[in-house]
């Protein structure tokens, strides 16, 4: 058993984050701890041939992301670079987050990090990380003579 090493900018010591860090290692358990509500937070889904990671992070561009896969460790950093200039404007209402995002998570399966594909469409970052060694497990029909 191992603990996912999760780091976050805010509330890093809260009990919720501790539970989240633990349950991150077991995405198949589908627990409430890793679920930050609809349309929020990073979601890791282990599929048959790959691991699909989605992160809604609207209002930035592809170059604001730093994604790293080292072994089974996935690190995502998302920066909000344009927010500084907005401080001069007069806000009547300000609800959108100005925080950057950083999270590292240990993936529960072996992956081939070099083959990772990443795209940022409509404010959602989607990563597809192929699993390693799934071909060997694939069923093979053996002909009986």
């Amino acid at each position: 058993m191992y603990y996912a090493q999760t780091r976050q900018h805010h509330n890093a010591d809260s009990f919720h984050d501790l539970m989240k860090a633990f349950f991150r290692s077991y995405p198949e358990w589908n627990t409430m701890w890793t679920d930050e509500g609809p349309g929020k937070g990073m979601k890791v889904k282990v599929r048959e041939k790959d691991v699909r990671v989605t992160l809604p992070f609207p209002g930035v561009s592809a170059k604001d992301f730093e994604v790293e896969v080292v072994g089974d460790m996935l690190s995502i950093r998302a920066n909000r670079t344009r927010e500084a200039a907005d401080d001069t404007k007069q806000y009547l209402c300000r609800e959108r987050s100005t925080e950057s995002f950083q999270e590292s998570v240990r993936l529960p399966v072996r992956v081939n990090g070099a083959e990772t594909s990443a795209k940022y469409v409509d404010g959602v970052l989607t990563l597809l990380i192929p699993r390693e060694g799934v071909e060997a497990k694939a069923s093979k029909q053996i002909k009986v003579d």
């Binding site: 609809p38 349309g39 404010g123």
Partner: protein
């Protein structure tokens, strides 16, 4: 969005986070609608109420997300010239101020 679609699919309604900026000539509302784009967004004004709906590609417990929010407009908004655009999961609606609501600086002699 048509009523028919609502019946056929199961949606999870979500209140999107909004910023409202007061500019000299207009008010600008920006809403976070990740997973939605120009094809899945509707913006309409009826009886001085601005309603926005955005269907997202994101799901939550098997339900598709539907971002929905509305604002009551004052008559200081020039309703005829409201414009909207989506980019990178942010819906930006520009509400031009009516002539009456604009700041008129008067030169003192």
């Amino acid at each position: 969005m048509s009523e028919e679609m609502k019946k056929n699919e199961q949606f999870m309604e979500v209140l999107p986070a909004a910023d409202i900026i007061d500019d000299e000539k207009s008010a600008i509302i920006s809403l976070e609608v990740p997973g939605a784009n120009a094809q899945t967004v509707t913006v309409e004004v009826k009886d001085q109420i601005l309603s926005m709906e955005a269907r997202s590609s994101l799901t939550w417990h098997g339900m598709q997300l539907l971002y929905k929010r509305s604002f009551q407009l004052s008559d200081a908004v020039d309703v005829e010239n409201i414009s909207a655009k989506t980019q990178d999961g942010v819906l930006t609606v520009t509400l031009p101020k009516s002539e009456r609501a604009k700041v008129h600086r008067i030169q003192v002699q």
